[in-house]
Amino acid sequence: MSRIIVAGLLIFLLVITGLIAFRGEVVALAVPLALYLLAGLYWGPDKLQLEVNRTLSLERVSPGDPATITLEVKNLGAPLENLLLEDFPGGLTIITGSPRKLVSLKRGETFTWSYTVKGKRGHYPFSYLRASARDLLGLVERVEEIPTRGQLFILPAAPRVRRIAIRPRRTRVYAGSIPARIGGPGIEFFGVREYQPGDPQHWINWRASARYSNSIYSNEFEQERVADVGIILDGRRVINELGSGRSIFEHSVLAATSLADGFLAAGNRVGLLVYGKHVNWTYPGYGKLQREKILQSLARADLGESQVFSGLIIPRKLFPAYSQMVLVSPLESGDFEGLVRFRSAGFQLIVVSPDPVSYEVNSLPESNGASLAARIVRIEREILLHRLQRTGIQVVNWNTALPFENVIQGALSRPPAWLKAIHSGGVG
């Protein structure tokens, strides 16, 4: 109950009782309370006129790294005797300092304070500072939310994957590292064709030319170009949240981050779709700016209530047919049809699947029942993965107890081209 109401009610009852009983002392008891209320009215704070500036030591950090938030509050109005300033770093852990301060501010006075936070992957906007001013007796309160600017991205930290071998049927025109299935300048042998003026001399295939007296033949190499790569991060709550509130989603985010980084580093045009709370696209692009966009999108990624992939449509404007798609998902049996539909639409599809079975088994106490259940679920999962592979989908089953980069290097890398060239050079 408001303190004003309590005091007012007591005054009312004291005066009524005193007048009814004709007792001056009872009425007199109401005097200190009445003076108290009058003091609150007289010294109560006026409208708040505060100017707030917020600065962050860093706007993008890795999970667990500290960031210092500094707030500068200037009082442009009447003096404030009892001012409580509250900042709301929702979801972040305070390391040092406090997001709340109780101060007195004279007219024109500035108060500055800092606190340090750390947190998990995410996007933390700071949109306002709450200021509540009271008179010294705490009767009259004025509360305002003063808008401020500032945001903190805690970006997912991911290991770097050096080389991911993909072979989409369609590439873009720019030179890159993806074999383009087109003859021309390159490293890998592609075929033999008739010599054309301008071909370098060392391209001439003397053995083939010797067989035919009237023609010279040149070797042709496979062009390497950049490709369109779409990464789909599966954020469906129904398959990411496991028993006892544990979630495998952070592993999926790590995998998506690592893959996006690897593909962009190879010069590809990469886009991201987070399929969870909303269908959230990061439109395809190249380079460091695109990397930043994807990291920010992954920082925001959250689980959602979407159910199956059947409702998911990949716009052809973003990813033409025969582009490379990479799905990062723990998978469930109901996904098979949706993925086959992707494949039949012409996309080259790689599925990187953090293994929810081994993830959950690792957290369970050992028992016969649990191991039997794990065996059954594992068999079901292996059947699903096998069926996907038979439809031409490349599947990487990632046991999350193992480092992602090792698993992906083993499954998706190929020896560097220069090493292959040495071997084909016929040293032995």
Partner: protein, 148 residues
């Protein structure tokens, strides 16, 4: 003080009840902030009953003022609890006590004055004063609430 007044008049059960309530107030204060408002209400009621039973007025008034101060300090304490641990509350506490002292001092002075000044009025006057009190109080509380 109120309990001492009741004890002096030989009202043992009431004294015991007030002491138990006072202890419960102190215990509950740490957990629930509304206990202070309840405490002030009960102590005011006890002071009024004491005055109506002609128990020593200084003790009743003094006890009521102590309960009032406790209620105010409870509100201040709950405000200070919201602040950071490293905030300097000393200056704020000093200013608060100074203002509270002014209010209580003035209030106590007026109360003491009423014990020396005697005004006699009839029933119609009392009724008029009640109406004036209701109106004045409504205006005061209304203005305070609006200014929040």
């Amino acid at each position: 003080m109120i309990a001492a007044g009741f004890y002096g008049a030989g009202m043992i059960y009431q004294t015991f009840g007030l002491i138990v309530f006072g202890l419960a107030w102190m215990a509950g204060q740490r957990k629930w902030t509304w206990v202070a408002s309840l405490g002030l209400g009960v102590m005011t009621l006890a002071a009024v009953i004491g005055l109506l039973y002609n128990l020593p007025a200084p003790m009743m008034i003094g006890g009521f003022l102590c309960a009032f101060i406790a209620w105010d300090l409870s509100g201040f304490n709950s405000r200070v609890k919201l602040a950071a641990k490293d905030d300097n509350h000393g200056r704020l506490a000093q200013l608060h006590l100074l203002r509270l002292g002014m209010v209580i001092g003035a209030g106590f002075g007026v109360v003491m004055l009423t014990r020396t000044i005697r005004v006699h009025f009839d029933f119609e006057m009392a009724a008029l004063l009640i109406i004036a009190e209701v109106w004045g109080l409504s205006v005061l509380v209304g203005r305070l609430r609006r200014s929040e």
